[in-house]
Structure formats: structure tokens, C-alpha cells
């Protein structure tokens, strides 16, 4: 296994001697193609993925992207767990934006239970808020990692700092920095802390600053632009044919955002824009993510302004756990608690495909229930599975050095892609 790539060398082949004028027009020397193996453990690839390349000099002729190194059997585990026990697994699908996966799964099950319209309004707002925070952390991480892989370490530090702030806030709410398992079927598990909104506003201010800095540092940075502009171009038709959604699809000009086109929760009440790219290259993907973070902040501020009071969990003894005091002191609630935990919520037989806007695009859950306490099938439609597949199309013809930013901007998340 070849586990480090040849260092990116200059694109022009410089002859050490002779007359530069006599160089062939083609700025590459004729070489015979060579198989090259990147990964599964490669410094410039967050997540374990393996690329079997056929290169001619520095140019990629063919590529076979191999995934599956992080196949943790989400579906098999889900088929052996109660409906509620699946939340921790969804956390670890797209582990950069766990809340979005939580929400997506909860919505699917609630549709099966026909309680999706009974969810308390406050719970819906809270879901939007934590979800958008997760979207922020997702994009922050994506940009930070990619920038680091392009040797922009400062950017990494700035964005990581911003992510820390957001995570600490989410930790106050959910008790976990990363894998929150905060959403429940019928609502959320705990209410926001009292000083949540002021803290979030403060943090958003600082995030804006950090993002502005990064914007300054990268957007007009010659080196950065050279490695992003016009590289890995995806057309709108590609996006449709390959099922590309989210930032990748939008950067290719496909203005499809589930939050806008099929509003769920309370997204239809907020005023936000969907950034769309014009070229479909790496830079567009970068720019779209940057802009989406700003839009998420807009949503967050509106949501905080309109956050209603009220319950945060559906009041239905067959879905939500009874109050602990009752559980410990009366046999009735003890039984209810017991059945909900051990046998699981009983979901009527049926099938549902429910989709939300995940960090990487359309995060769909196709769930088949046979009327027992666990799903018969719990399929997740992973957006970056489709997004990663398109690498097979766009990488050939690029230079080896271009693989790194392209892969980074596609933002393959192992847990979600391999499940």
C-alpha cells in the first residue's frame, strides 16, 4: 500500500538545459501511464477512501474511487434496535452535523406515526435552531479541513475555534459535544438553557468575524484560487443525472434546497436565500458553503426572535416517556416506561421516504415498518454517497494535486457515505 502521495510538483515540466523555445507545444513530456494508489489512509483525505489511479506523469487518466472502509452497518444495527435506540446511530452517520441527521430521522418516524403535524411548535423551532447550528459546524469543518489540506493552517485554526464555540453551546443543551442524540420522536429531549439565545447571538457575532477573516484570507488568495478555480467542474445536467444535492448540486447551478422547495418543520416562516454557483468548480463549492453559513445565521437569528414558549415533547403516552416521578411511584407509569424502553414505540406498518436538507444535501430516510418496536428496514439515502460517486467522472484529466481540493470540496463524510 502506497500511503503518501508524491509531493505536488509544478505543473510545467522545466527542462534543465537546452532551448526553451524547442520545447514541444504540449507542456507535458510524453510518459507511459502508471498505476497509483491513494489511500485508504492518506494524509490529504479526511475519512478513509481509496483511489486507484492511472496517471500519466501528473495527470489522472482513470480513477476508481473505492469506499466502504467505514461500513458500520447502520441498517443492520437499526433493524436490531428500537426506534428510539436508532438516534445514536444517526448521530454517527454524518458526524459533522449530527443534529441534522437526528431531525431527519425523527421526522420520518413521526410521519409513519402520523404525528408529524402534532409536534409542539417550540420543539420544531428548537430543531431548526440546533439543526442550523449543526449545518454551521458542518461547513466550518469542511472548509477548515480542506484549507488545511491546502496548507492554510491558519484558516484551520480560525474555523476550529468557531466550531468549538458552537459545540460548547450544543453541549450545554444536549450534554454532548459531538454526538448529541438530542432529538426524540415527538420533540426534543430537553429544553434550551435559559441563556441560550444571548449566548448564541454573541457566538454568531464572533463566527461572522471568523468567517469574514477566512473569506479575506482565502477568497482573494492567489494560491488558493489557483487550486480551486475551474477545477472539477460539474454541470447542472451532471448534478441531475448523478443525483447531486446540497452545496455540491447548488454550486453546479441546480437550485434545489429541500428547505425551500419542500419546506419541513417551520422553515417556510423564515426568510433566507439559496446560494447557487455559476461554474460548478471547486471555488463555487467553497463560495456556496461560505454563503450558506451566512444564510444559516440569518435563519438562526429569525428563529431566536420568534422562538415560542410551550412544551418541547409531544404529550402522547404511547410515544413519549411518562414523568420520572410517576415511573418510580406508580405501577401504571412504570409499565408504560418499561414498554416504551424495552419493546420500543410501536409504529404502525407502512413505508415512508422522508427527506430533509442535510449538511451535504438531500438526506433521505426510507423506512419500512412491520408494526413492531423496530424498523423492518431503515435505509438512509446518503447525499455524499452520490456526491462521492461523481468523482469518478470529474477527476480524470485533472492533476494529482487537484484531487486534494476536489475531494475536500465534495466533502465525503465516511460515516454517511459508507454507513
Amino acid at each position: 500500500m502506497n500511503d503518501h502521495a508524491p509531493s505536488p510538483t509544478s505543473r510545467r515540466v522545466v527542462m534543465g538545459f537546452g532551448d526553451a523555445a524547442n520545447l514541444p507545444e504540449d507542456d507535458e513530456l510524453p510518459t507511459e501511464s502508471m498505476p497509483l494508489n491513494m489511500g485508504p489512509s492518506h494524509p490529504a483525505m479526511h475519512g478513509t477512501v481509496r483511489m486507484v489511479l492511472e496517471v500519466e506523469g501528473e495527470k489522472v487518466r482513470t480513477v476508481d474511487v473505492q469506499i466502504g472502509f467505514l461500513h458500520r452497518c447502520f441498517e443492520k444495527e437499526a433493524e436490531n434496535a428500537t426506534w428510539t435506540q436508532i438516534f445514536p446511530y444517526t448521530d454517527r452517520l454524518n458526524y459533522v452535523s449530527p443534529m441534522l441527521c437526528n431531525v431527519g430521522y425523527a421526522l420520518a418516524v413521526e410521519k409513519l406515526l402520523d404525528i408529524d403535524d402534532k409536534i409542539p411548535e417550540r420543539a420544531q423551532f428548537i430543531r431548526v435552531i440546533v439543526g442550523e447550528i449543526s449545518r454551521l459546524t458542518d461547513h466550518l469543518t469542511c472548509l477548515a479541513a480542506s484549507a488545511m489540506e491546502l496548507a492554510a493552517f491558519t484558516v484551520f485554526f480560525y474555523l476550529m475555534k468557531a466550531r468549538e464555540w458552537l459545540w460548547e453551546l450544543l453541549e450545554e443543551v444536549s450534554g454532548a459535544r459531538l454526538t448529541h442524540s438530542y432529538v426524540r420522536i415527538g420533540g426534543v429531549v430537553a429544553d434550551l438553557t435559559d441563556d441560550f439565545c444571548p449566548k448564541l447571538r454573541d457566538i454568531l457575532g464572533r463566527c461572522r468575524a471568523a468567517i469574514a477573516d477566512v473569506d479575506k484570507m482565502l477568497t482573494s488568495n492567489r494560491i488558493f484560487r489557483d487550486r480551486m478555480d475551474g477545477i472539477g467542474i460539474i454541470t447542472r445536467d451532471d448534478a441531475i443525472g448523478w443525483g447531486l444535492t446540497g452545496p455540491v448540486g447548488r454550486s453546479a447551478g441546480l437550485a434545489y434546497d429541500v428547505r425551500k422547495d419542500h419546506p419541513y418543520l417551520v422553515y417556510d416562516r423564515f426568510d433566507f436565500d439559496v446560494p447557487v454557483g455559476s461554474v460548478g468548480d471547486n471555488f463555487d463549492r467553497y463560495a456556496v458553503r461560505l454563503e450558506e453559513m451566512r444564510q444559516s445565521m440569518r435563519i438562526l437569528e429569525q428563529a431566536m426572535d420568534r422562538l415560542p414558549a410551550g412544551p418541547i415533547l409531544l404529550d402522547d403516552a404511547r410515544v413519549a416517556l411518562p414523568p420520572k416521578r410517576e415511573v418510580y411511584n406508580t405501577i401504571e407509569s412504570m409499565i408504560a416506561h418499561f414498554k416504551l424502553i424495552m419493546d420500543g414505540i410501536v409504529v404502525p406498518p407502512g413505508e415512508i421516504y422522508s427527506f430533509t436538507e442535510g449538511g451535504n444535501g438531500e438526506l433521505g430516510f426510507y423506512i419500512v415498518s412491520d408494526g413492531t418496536g423496530r424498523p423492518w428496514k431503515c435505509r438512509v439515502r446518503p447525499p455524499c454517497f452520490a456526491n462521492t460517486a461523481v468523482l469518478n467522472k470529474i477527476l480524470p484529466g485533472l492533476f494529482i494535486a487537484d484531487i486534494v481540493p476536489t475531494f475536500g470540496m465534495i466533502n465525503m463524510i465516511g460515516g454517511e457515505c459508507d454507513r
Partner: protein
């Protein structure tokens, strides 16, 4: 029992009744409850049991009948012509709730420490029919918590909801009135009849029928939470009756056997003795092949057996014998009888098995081998008896012997030069054997038993074979291959279907569908 009595009573006339607005036709004598179950209408109940008479004491199955002033127990009332039944009117539901609340009034908050939790009818009905919060938090009536009722049973009187199922099991199944109710009102409790202990051979059925955790089995209690167990349908290996059972196991350890309803064989019951047969599966097993008493690799052991057998066969086939066991499945028997006739070319095929034991006219049969019928069918008319075996060993016509399964008929051994044993357990035969191969047991393999009625019943592998032991048919196939044959058995089903084609009286047998084992917590919250 109850079901038949009613079916027998009265002419087979049909009656038309209306249930929840839909009109149906049923044979007369059917109770309303059974009628509802036939048309898939859910009616809760505690005291009713399909295999027992109906005393209508729990009042959970109340339904409304047009024209009757009060709701009436559907488990007790036979259907009558032009009867109009309402099972889901607000009134009915409310009355049931009140009865349930009444039942829960003095029920201890034991679920976390209760063995029945997870398969408890009380839990199920409360969750299905009434999930309201408690309305009173007065103190509950205290009763005795750990009452030793008998050899296998412990009683918790607080949990008892006085449904009297267990009493009826003793009276109607075991036919020994061991249990009675004492006192009245909220002091009423279950206890043994004066001077009696609950020691009848069917006592553990009371644990199955108990809707709550009042009666628990000493053998099982506190060993495993019920919902963690995986259920696998199988057949009891205890005797020739072949009671249908469910193996409840977790992490390759069997925790209990419970009867699986089969009106044609064991109805809803099985005997205590049969329930404890699982213990042997985990006791002093032979876990690796032994060559001359020393552990060996499978390949080496099989090669050695092949060499010995070929040598004995070529020397004098008449002095080479094969002993089949009525303890093993049809597949193993078929594979070995085929091996004996085709490759060992011997006609000295004996049939041995466990000794006869006690029996009764309820379920237990004297023949303690689960598969005697099958073995006789597969062995054919020429198969010799254990007595012949003893005789031939005594006079010493046998020089080499291939023994499938344990059989104490195999003695004396001194005249033998070669003894190859396929055994699941350590024992005198294994120690005496020149080669001993570990044999997987009934709970570890797919296969079939043929019970005393000639019913071919299916075994499913519930746990992984102990150590390196393998199913008999597989050992036979590998042995045949080692002896140069081209056997292509890949799984027990292939052996079965071949046996079904070849063996008469097995032609009607059915292997059944593949099914994935289910964990009790997900068995649709049954109980």
C-alpha cells in the same frame, strides 16, 4: 380439554352473529371471544386460556351485547343466533379500563426485578388498552413475596392477579389439584392445598400460563431478562412424544425451553422433565476430535477413521458394524445408513438408544428416544436391535464398530479391535474409542425428528455447535469423501429431501421455510 368439549357439544349447526356491525357465521358452541379472535378482533383477557376451561374471573374480556343490561364476559358466553356484539363501544372500553385499574391497584412496582417483565400480559394490556396515569397513590396490600411452592416453582403472592390459570392447569392438565385460592377480597391469595406441594410432573406449565410474574421457575428466574432471549422453534428430545418447543437462548447459551402450541401433539403443554433436557447441551461436551484419546485436527481424525474403516471393510466386511442411535436426527441417520450400505458395504447395522423410562397417559412416553420411529424407517426392516448388538459383541463376531451417538448397549468392548465413536458427550465409549468425533446436538443443528405418531417435525439450530463439534450428516459426508466417494451434501436440507424421496412414510414430510430467529423483545411484544 375446554376447546374440544365445546366443539363436541351441540350439533355442528352454524349461527349468524353480528360483531361490531359486521355479520359473521360461526359453528354453534364457539364462545364470543374465540369468534372475535377468528375474525381478528382484539379482546383482552387474563384468565382465559385456549387450552383451559373459562371461569370468567378477570372481567377483562367484557363485551356489550345488544339487549343485555350489563357487559358480559365474552370468554364464557357461547355465540347464539342473531346475537349482536359490540367489542369497542366507549362503555365497554371504560369498563375494561376500570377492571384493569382495579387489577393494578395492589400490583407491586416490580417490573425492573420481575422475571415476567417483557412478556407480561398485564403490561401488554395496560399499554394496549389504557395508558392513563395512575389516579390513586394509596398504599398497596402487602403479601408474601418468596413462597416456595415445590420442586420447580416459586410464588410471589403480591404479583398474583388471581386469574386461577395455574389452578386449572393443575386440575385439567396434570390432573392433580395442588393449588387453591384462600381468603377473600383484596386479601385473597394463591397457595397450595393443605399438606400439598406443587410437585406434579407438569408444574412448570403454571409458569407459562401465569399472565404475570407471580409464578416463576427456580431454574430460570434471575438467569436472563426475557426480552434478551432469542426464540427458535424446535422439538423436545426428551421422549418419543416430540412435544413442539421453543428454544430460548442468548449468546449461544440455552436458558429455557417452553412449549409451542400444536393441537396434534402436545396442545399447549410439556412435562417438567422435558423442559430440563436443555441442561445436557451444556454439560461435559466432547469439543474436539480425539485420536487415541489425544485432541486432533478434524482432517487428521477423519483421515484416520477412513483408514481404519477401509481396512476393516477390506479385511472382512462381516466383522464391521455400524450402530445408529434413535437420539439423532433423520438426516444424520440417513447419511450414516447410506455410508454403511454404500461405502462400508456392511449389513450389520444396529439401532440403539436410551433405556426406557417412566410414562403416563398425558404426554410422557416410555421410549426416551426422540426419533425411534424415524430410525426404524430409515434403518429399514434389516436393521438389528440393541439386543443383537450385545449378543454379537459377546460372541465377538464384531471386530470394528462405528457408533453414531451414545448407546449403553455397546458393551462389552473387549472383542473390538477398532471403535470409532461420534459422540456429543464425554463418556466410557469416548474414552474407549480409537477415534472419537464431536457430534453436534439437537439444539445446534437443523434437522428433523419423527415422533411416535410418525409426524416428521423440524429442528432449527438455536445455538452454535459446542467447540468444534459438527452435525452428524456433515461428518458422514466428509467421511465418505475421505473414503473416495463424491458426496455433495452442503446442508441438512439436501440430506432431508433425498431421504424424503428414498424413505417410505417420509414422503409427506415438509422442511419448512427459512426464518430469521427473533428476539423476544421484538416478537410483537407478545405475552
Amino acid at each position: 380439554m375446554a376447546g374440544e368439549k365445546q366443539a363436541a357439544s351441540g350439533p355442528r349447526a352454524k349461527v349468524k352473529i353480528v360483531i361490531d356491525g359486521r355479520s359473521h357465521e360461526f359453528p354453534a358452541g364457539l364462545t364470543i371471544l374465540e369468534a372475535c379472535q377468528r375474525v381478528g378482533i382484539k379482546v383482552p383477557f387474563f384468565c382465559w386460556h385456549p387450552g383451559l376451561s373459562a371461569p370468567a374471573v378477570c372481567r377483562q374480556c367484557l363485551v356489550e351485547i345488544r339487549g343485555f343490561p350489563k357487559p358480559i364476559p365474552s370468554c364464557y358466553t357461547p355465540v347464539a343466533d342473531k346475537m349482536e356484539v359490540i367489542t369497542n363501544s366507549p362503555k365497554v372500553l371504560d369498563v375494561r379500563r376500570q377492571m384493569l385499574e382495579f387489577t393494578l391497584l395492589n400490583h407491586p412496582i416490580d417490573c425492573p426485578i420481575c422475571d415476567k417483565a417483557g412478556e407480561c400480559l398485564l403490561q401488554k394490556h395496560y399499554f394496549d388498552w389504557d395508558v392513563r396515569l395512575a389516579r390513586n397513590d394509596g398504599s398497596k396490600v402487602r403479601k408474601a413475596k418468596v413462597v416456595d411452592l415445590g420442586r420447580h416453582i416459586v410464588l410471589d403472592q403480591e404479583r398474583c392477579i388471581l386469574c386461577t390459570r395455574c389452578i386449572r392447569v393443575c386440575n385439567e392438565v396434570a390432573r392433580q389439584p395442588d393449588l387453591v385460592m384462600a381468603f377473600r377480597g383484596d386479601r385473597q391469595l394463591l397457595t397450595t392445598a393443605p399438606g400439598q406441594r406443587l410437585d406434579n410432573p407438569y408444574s412448570l406449565n403454571t409458569v407459562d400460563v401465569c399472565p404475570v410474574g407471580a409464578l416463576t421457575a427456580k431454574d430460570f428466574r434471575f438467569s436472563m431478562r426475557a426480552w434478551e432471549l432469542w426464540a427458535t422453534p424446535s422439538v423436545c428430545p426428551g421422549c418419543a412424544t416430540g412435544c413442539n418447543i421453543e428454544i430460548h437462548a442468548a449468546h449461544d447459551v440455552i436458558r429455557r425451553l417452553i412449549p409451542r402450541p400444536n393441537p396434534a401433539v402436545n396442545k399447549y403443554w410439556m412435562c417438567d422433565e422435558g423442559r430440563l433436557t436443555y441442561k445436557r447441551v451444556h454439560q461435559d461436551r466432547l469439543v474436539a476430535p480425539l485420536v487415541a484419546g489425544a485432541p486432533a485436527r478434524w482432517a487428521a481424525a477423519l483421515a484416520e477413521v477412513a483408514r481404519l474403516m477401509a481396512w476393516a471393510r477390506d479385511k472382512s466386511p462381516s466383522s464391521l458394524g455400524v450402530v445408529l442411535s434413535a437420539q439423532t436426527s433423520n438426516e444424520d441417520l440417513f447419511a450414516f445408513s447410506r455410508l454403511a450400505s454404500e461405502h462400508l458395504r456392511t449389513d450389520r447395522v444396529y439401532l440403539a438408544g436410551a433405556r426406557e423410562g417412566w410414562c403416563d397417559e398425558i404426554l410422557v412416553s416410555a421410549d426416551k428416544n426422540p426419533n425411534t420411529t424415524g430410525a426404524k424407517l430409515i434403518g429399514g426392516p434389516t436393521v438389528r436391535t440393541a439386543a443383537d448388538l450385545k449378543q454379537d459383541l459377546k460372541i465377538g463376531v464384531l471386530k470394528a464398530l462405528l457408533v453414531l451417538g451414545e448407546a449403553d448397549a455397546v458393551s462389552p468392548l473387549d472383542s473390538l479391535q477398532t471403535l470409532v465413536v461420534l459422540a456429543s458427550h464425554q463418556g466410557p465409549l469416548v474414552t474407549a474409542a480409537s477415534v472419537a468425533l464431536p457430534l453436534a446436538m439437537w439444539a445446534e443443528t437443523d434437522g428433523t425428528f419423527t415422533n411416535r405418531q410418525g409426524k416428521v417435525q423440524r429442528l432449527h439450530a438455536a445455538i452454535a455447535p459446542a467447540g468444534q463439534s459438527r452435525p452428524g450428516w456433515e461428518i458422514a459426508a466428509r467421511l465418505a469423501r475421505a473414503m473416495g466417494a463424491a458426496w455433495t451434501y452442503a446442508n441438512a436440507k439436501q440430506v432431508f429431501s433425498e431421504a424424503r424421496d428414498k424413505v417410505m412414510l417420509m414422503s409427506g414430510a415438509d422442511w419448512g421455510r427459512p426464518e430469521s430467529p427473533v428476539q423476544l423483545r421484538f416478537a410483537n411484544s407478545r405475552g
